[in-house]
Amino acid sequence: MPAVRDSLIAFRRTPLLSALSITTIAFSLFAVGLFGLVVLNIRDALEKVEEHVEIRAFITDKTPVEQVALAANDVAKYDEVQSVDLVTQEQALERARRELGEFRDVFEAEFLPASLDVHLKPGFRDPASVRRVADRLKALTFVDDVRYGEDWIEQLYRLRNIAGVAAAALGLAFAAIAIIIIGSTIRMAVLARSREISIMRLVGATDAYVRRPFLIEGFIKGVLGGLLALGLTWLAIHLVSSYLSFQTVFFDQRLAIFGLAGGALMGLLGSAFSVGRHLRRV
């Protein structure tokens, strides 16, 4: 395919400019990637915290265990519920002794009530869902009291919403900056070949013919820049993990491919925009 060959020739003819374009694309995407990783890690941390969202329904004293066990099965069938643990008085005592080591002798048998510890499915750990399940549990005749750290959940979700909005706004800003930088870099490549473009048109090349190698070039630069950015991001997160002893998560395969496709698309659109503008002007 002549257009692919022309694109590769263009890389060979202007190696410095091509390297500069790829590096610029890589660093623009690296900034987006780093930001993406920060967002990903914050989300991961929040999800881990959310896993601790738990509703504890305390059982009235002297309720037969069989009745509570049956109720636990019913509760486990709620849409929002992931699992239900039936904690007997003995287990509650054991847990209290384990958690409050130095006061272990203070507790005596049957001092603490039995409970149903209800864990919610991801997506149902927001304040409204938690409140809804808590209300249903409260309605059970043998339930004395329901606790779920209402304030704590409210604050967690406020933090999550702020992080989400900030991530979307900053992500858009980073992506816009990356597109502008990539567009300018490709425009430099187009200007460097403006003489060739004018000769092409004089000898009868169609605009589509002129545009094609630039689009392929932009696509290749976008993919190479994306790969480089992915490598740089991996290196950065690896350094942070090893030197600051943070446990971090990296992009999974789907997100990595999405990033590469984003780079390719930016290269393609940047080229289409720059060549189109140039062809309209000359």
């Binding site: 003819r13 003489r195 000769i199 092409m200 004089l202 000898v203 009868g204 090349a205 169609t206 605009d207």
Partner: protein
């Protein structure tokens, strides 16, 4: 082949470049376009290969009209023309052969047909032995020959040359001019803009003289008038 009908061209900031210009060029004709700098010679050539459109009037080239032609049809028109410039406009990083082949590649010619056509064009301009030379390794005259070979390789019906000898010494000028004559002799019409009055005097080709965007002399019209006077 070419018909200008009351063509006016005005540039937004520079004002009028051509005013009410009309002339015809027949198939296979050789015509000089002459006049001082800024007279409108290059504008006429740009109107022919439709890099510019007239502000008023009509330009027709090989059946295509400036009034009705669509942007997408302009490449088709240019493939029928050969265009040569004073500054050669060669790609410095390609050999003579690659520069000529370039004109075929962009028109989508089959890959197998390109080497033969390029070789013939370079032989026609006397540069077969320098096919692998880069423009910087060639003299001005040789570079212009490569540009002419590039213009010829698509078998144009009209060769448009804008001051093709403007950057050349006398010897190279004579060589390039002889080449254009040979091309014309084989049936291709040639329209050559030039300042070189010597060339015009040494040949008996038609010349059109422009001044301030208007035709002030056309040797064909003058000859027709002389014949009419003689007949009277």
């Amino acid at each position: 082949m070419i018909r200008f009908t009351r063509v006016t061209k005005e540039y937004p900031r520079l004002g009028p470049a051509l005013s009410n210009v009309s002339f015809n060029v027949a198939k296979g004709e050789f015509v000089f376009l002459t006049g001082p700098s800024g007279a409108g010679k290059s504008t006429i050539l740009k109107l022919i290969y439709m890099e510019e459109r007239p502000t008023d009037g009509e330009v027709r080239v090989d059946g295509m009209s400036s009034v009705t032609i669509r942007g997408a049809e302009i490449p088709k028109l240019r493939r029928k023309l050969g265009i040569v410039f004073q500054d050669f406009r060669l790609l410095e990083d390609r050999t003579a052969e690659a520069n000529v082949a370039f004109a075929l590649e962009v028109t989508g010619a089959s890959r197998s047909s390109i080497p033969g056509k390029v070789s013939r064009a370079l032989t026609q301009v006397g540069l077969a032995s320098k096919a692998m030379s880069y423009p910087r390794e060639l003299s001005g005259g040789e570079q212009q020959r490569v540009a002419i070979a590039r213009a010829l390789v698509n078998d144009p019906v009209l060769l448009v040359a804008d001051e093709p000898t403007g950057n050349l010494d006398d010897r190279a000028t004579r060589g390039v001019f002889q080449l254009l004559r040979d091309i014309n002799a084989s049936g291709t019409a040639v329209l050559m803009a030039t300042h070189n009055l010597d060339l015009i005097r040494r040949s008996d080709y038609r010349s059109i003289e422009l001044n301030r965007g208007q035709i002030v002399f056309d040797s064909a019209e003058a000859a027709k008038a002389a014949i009419e006077r003689f007949a009277d």
